[in-house]
Amino acid sequence: MNSDLIFYSTVSDVRPSSVHAGAGPEATDTPAIELRGLHKSFGPVHAVDGVDLEIRDGEFFSMLGPSGSGKTTVLRIIAGFESPTAGRVRLAGHDVTDRPPFARDVNTVFQDYALFPHMSVAGNVEYGLRVRKVDRAERRRRVEEALGTVRLAGYGDRRPTQLSGGQRQRVSLARAIINRPKVLLLDEPLGALDLKLRREMQIELKQMQRELGITFVFVTHDQEEALTMSDRIAVFNDGRIEQVATPVELYETPATTFVAGFVGTSNMLEGEAARRILGEPGLFSVRPEKIRIDQPGTTVDAGRCAAEGVVEEIAYLGSTTHAIVALGTGVTLTVQQQNADHVDSALLQRGRAVQLSWPRAHLVRLVATGESHPGDDPTEVESS
């Protein structure tokens, strides 16, 4: 409901002109978005619980997390649909915390597209220009241009209801980018599309972002999507940010158990098992594809850790095979093997005794995320 936000007590109706200066030289040092000490409570619920974040100008930034983790609320605070309980929002260095959405140089692509059903596609796309009193000829030119950008040239006269889900998504995109915002906010924009269309749109969005040079802030709960598209990712959990990093950093060196579990699949070693196998106490993770599977007793190279166990379960997945190996002390590790011809498939048999080894460099020491850890099994967490 919270629609007191739609009829804001407005401070200023006018957008700051300096923001309109375009991708100027100031872009390099001033962050496009700066969040400081952001808190947001809905009654007793702390949806956002202390978020500090800087999003660089021109980057494709994703906010990743399970539902209810606060990522969408942060996006809505940036857009101005929600006002934070505490904290400040700066856009290109300007504090906009108290400004209503229509006075912020950001545009949003909504999860449900939020197209105006009583207007044609062109009417939807030109809406932002219209309310800013851009003249008709200019409007028409830019509508054509924007529809071309989203590959919907010639669809201007249709009604949103006559379009497919993917087409509506593009209209929604065109409606946002036509305003040439400094920042485009995308709230799970691909959530309603089927897998194939979604893959296509992921690539298109990425290309578009690069061509337009707009800062994209992309909210998703799909880690694969985030990894594919983003320059940097913030992983949200329980109203807080667990880690902000590039996709590679995030995957290779997750900072917390939550990140390790949420982004990709991880084998976790902790407590007694960690000390026995690794020789030191702590909380560690190793990715399944980093583990090599050998005959028991095979020589282990320097800089690698090793452990012996018995194959408990085999899952053939086409290009790869997953093996679940029991290390004898109640700990199991998931191993992912490429089905390449150099792999000894004889080892991938249920009941086979095998030796597992992995480079010490790929053993990541984690910070416990505490009670927010999804699932109780410490050794294996599967993300969605």
């Binding site: 407005t10 949003t108 939020a114 309310v131 305003n179």
Partner: protein, 285 residues
């Protein structure tokens, strides 16, 4: 047992039995009554005894269209119904908007009850309450006194006020339902694209709520069109189509002519419905 089994095997028969009573009701009580009205309009009444004489004639319609007073009354009635509708729409829209998009769920429920509450009171009680308020030295005079304003007295204005009050819930409820169906994300999108509250209202909320407003207007317009009680209570010396019908049924005992007059609001309503059909209002009833 065997009956149940037989019915089970014959779904069409089952459906037929189920639908027959309501269809009969609709057919006989509703359409037949309307048809009877239409037929009666072509008969005449004995001017002395008021008995209906069943000979076909267009006399009633000739009188209806030939005598200026009926045109005056028809235009007055349409004018009153239209103004009542406009007043109701103007009052209902902000209330419904507040209920649907601003109020908390709890306040929302309370407001719905508050809007419905006047419907529980008798029509006559409410109309006479307005008579009391509009009377000399009544509430309106008393409130207006400091501003050197006085009650409009009994007349067309009083009729419009009273009818607008009586039918307000019938406008608020559909508009509220319509606005409630309006996704909040559309309002956010509008604001996000740079539109201030006034522009959002004008370009998004009002156009999207229009079918619901028209749906409400169907109620307020048709109810006002047929009203004859409020106008006798607060309308002063003014007549509406309803009072002419009532006078002809009640006073003159001229049922056929009353039927002819009663066809006027029916025709106006049909024209009105035909005009609003394209707005999609009928779907949001």
């Amino acid at each position: 047992m065997s009956v149940a089994a037989a019915l089970h095997r014959r779904p069409r028969l089952r459906l037929g039995l189920l639908l027959a009573p309501p269809m009969l009701w609709l057919g006989v009580a509703y359409l037949a009554a309307l048809a009877a009205l239409l037929v009666t309009a072509f008969w005449t009444a004995n001017s002395f005894t008021g008995e209906v004489e069943r000979t076909w004639s267009l006399e009633n319609f000739r009188e209806l269209f030939g005598i200026g007073v009926y045109k005056t009354v028809t235009l007055r009635t349409i004018g009153i119904a239209a103004l009542v509708t406009v007043v109701d729409a103007a009052i209902a829209f902000p209330i419904a908007l507040y209920m649907a998009k601003v109020a908390s769920p709890r306040a929302q429920r309370l407001l719905v009850v508050a809007v419905l509450m006047p419907l529980w009171a008798s029509y006559l009680v409410k109309a006479y309450a307005w008579r009391g308020m509009l009377a000399e030295g009544g509430l309106i005079d008393w409130i207006g006194k400091p501003f050197h304003a006085s009650s409009p007295g009994f007349g067309v204005t009083a009729t419009i006020l009273t009818l607008a009050y009586l039918w307000l819930p019938y406008m608020i409820l559909p508009v509220y339902a319509g606005l409630e169906r309006l996704p909040t994300s559309l309002l956010e999108a509008s604001s996000d694209l740079g539109a201030g509250p006034a522009t959002t209202l004008r370009r998004v909320v009002v156009p999207m709520a229009m079918p619901a407003v028209v749906a409400g207007a169907i109620f307020t317009f048709s109810l006002s069109l047929g009203d004859y009680i409020a106008v006798t209570i607060v309308g002063g010396a003014n007549q509406m189509l309803g009072t002419v019908v009532y006078a002809n049924v009640g006073a003159a005992g001229n049922l056929p002519f009353a039927a002819a007059v009663a066809m006027v609001p029916v025709v106006i309503m049909l024209l009105f419905l035909a005009a609003v059909r394209r707005t999609g209002a009928l779907e949001s009833l």
